[in-house]
Symmetry: C4
Subunit: 206 residues, 4 copies
């Protein structure tokens, strides 16, 4: 259907809007994994508290996934502010990123249900690693195909692209840790976004 020069998706507008939609839905669907616990005595506050406490890993996995997807959303927008033109390669790498992120609710549910199972934790880590790598490929593709705005510094882009591998490396580490010591994988999942968000807020005034 490359019938006309106008057919190619030129600006990032629609791709951003579609990605926004997907990420907004992913981040909101996560709550559907949290089911109201069954109470024997409907009005018993103690039993309800105990039932909520038993859902601890589910709440934690919900919170983690929410924050991870939110970070991807923030980074996605920062990236597209640098991009002037979208070609087919970037379009499909972006769809790969959305595929990974829209799959997140499944491993989220697994680690919430089986917090001590290495396979669920490794799957959670690998899905985030895939998303991180897809995003990194977007940075690289945009550089090699000159998709950035004219004023964007090539050195800065190269630095950001290199830094973008830190996330996937940490997720790979978490996938390995899951099989050695599941708790360590959980701690790492908690530290990554905390580190990221604090760093962001720290640079807020700049």
């Amino acid at each position: 259907m490359t019938t006309h020069s106008a057919v190619s998706l030129s600006g990032p507008g629609r791709l951003e809007a579609f990605s926004d939609g997907v990420l907004a839905i992913v981040i909101t669907l996560l709550v559907l994994e949290l089911k109201t616990p069954h109470l024997v005595a409907p009005d018993d506050a103690r039993e309800a508290l105990a039932a909520l406490a038993a859902l601890g890993p589910k709440f934690l996995s919900y919170l983690l996934s929410f924050v991870f997807v939110a970070i991807f959303w923030v980074n996605h927008h920062r990236f597209f502010r640098l991009v002037q033109r979208v070609d087919n390669g970037l379009l499909w790498l972006n769809i790969l990123l959305l595929l990974a992120l829209s799959f997140v609710p499944f491993p989220t549910s697994m680690i919430g249900e089986y917090p001590g199972n290495a396979v669920g934790l490794a799957l959670f880590a690998l899905v985030l690693m895939t998303a991180g790598l897809a995003f990194n490929l977007m940075w690289r593709h945009a550089r090699s195909h000159q998709l950035y705005h004219a004023g964007v510094s090539p050195v800065a882009v190269a630095q950001a692209t290199a830094r973008g591998l830190v996330g996937p490396a940490l997720y790979a580490l978490a996938a390995v840790l899951a099989f050695v010591l599941p708790l360590a994988a959980w701690v790492l999942f908690g530290v990554i976004p905390l580190f990221y968000v604090l760093q962001r807020i720290g640079s807020a005034g700049k």
Copy 2:
């Protein structure tokens, strides 16, 4: 990834669109908590009516949450009409607001299922209180970081920010009431939006 001055999210456009998406999804997902009741006699109108009547607390919790989220959506837009610039702090406070609001379906389901349980009611109140406080922090952050449009009156902003604490205070009261008299918490949940909406409609012509 602060590679370039253009990287910072300057205008509120994308943040509003993403928030719109999340709130539209939250408000629409609420209906998934309402499951078709099981009928022994499929064509029996009397049994169906009785089954729907038994779902009363679920319908009520659905209606309450819908209206609360709608009010947050209206206020969110009013706020962003005053804002000229979004910095990292405001971005993450907004994500905190979305986290609280996208969690709403869980306590909504709890109070619908166990309308007399203090823990569910208190959780519902605390989630709304968290959303209200996150929103209030957004007002304060925008003031202290000069994010408002030039023409916005500082006195009016200060008054609105102070008024914005009434909601969280009422939610805190509801959380306490839940443990004393659950019905009083329900009444308070019903009165807050009614008061808000009527006040709004009353000022429609201004």
Copy 3:
């Protein structure tokens, strides 16, 4: 929070975007009511066909609701093309419309599960009637508060507003028919959108 004249929602842009989001979600969530049937012999085509045939009322209720919500979406946009300004009254009437339409999946599920039960059919009709009345109130409110564009003909608006009561009247009739002869209510549900869509396509060239 009426701190500033710029606070009032002036144009219909954001309200339309939010309504679009809600209606897109409602129309897409409907499919979640359709559950894969259980098959005793997983590879048996005959059993699968019989199981799908047994889901007939569910498919039909899915199709009906999809078309009804789509018609509301089309009409919603036609309306907002005439509107220049949104005030608080119109904002909250629009939220009432969204409340009714986002509730549609519940009665859709009921009539799919219990196609012969008068209560489900009447509830389905009453929810659509409420949506139709909310929409009609929007037309009236916009007229009495001068929210239309300058070039919009008052006579044409008055005619459209009067015609807008035909839908709610037919839904009310369906609610009554449900208790007399459920099948007649189904037929009426099928005729209303067919009539509407054919009329629309007929006027496509104008």
Copy 4:
């Protein structure tokens, strides 16, 4: 409600936004079909791996549907870049396309649950065929009603419209194959998007 010349939906803006919303939701809802498997030994990695392996057809059907909907989304946008004006016919053909695509989660779930059942596979193929035909009717309608931009080449549009029948023909073939050899239908489902995506990426630089 054709009260005013401004009532007709002129540009494709809102229709694209609404379609974006529906497709983003469909593509994200697919993950809800993937349920956490039940494990007897919560921490047993071997059992978890075996349980995930047993979900193989579900993962595959998820992946296929994601890619099919993504391709429709890409094509939808390419099409609307050629379109200057939307009339009622195009509007309702687009709604027919959305109806078919928003139904995709149901046959996706069926082929994931019963990968060897001809009926599920044929239904999956027929739903995609319907979407492909609706989309092809949109191309034809836009041509016969002069809805394209002035600069769009009629020959190129005619070629693209003819090429647009390849997809539906392949889906029809898959529906037939499903009853002869289910595995062949699966292979065909896998080959169609692979072929499409590779062709796209191959023409990325043009």
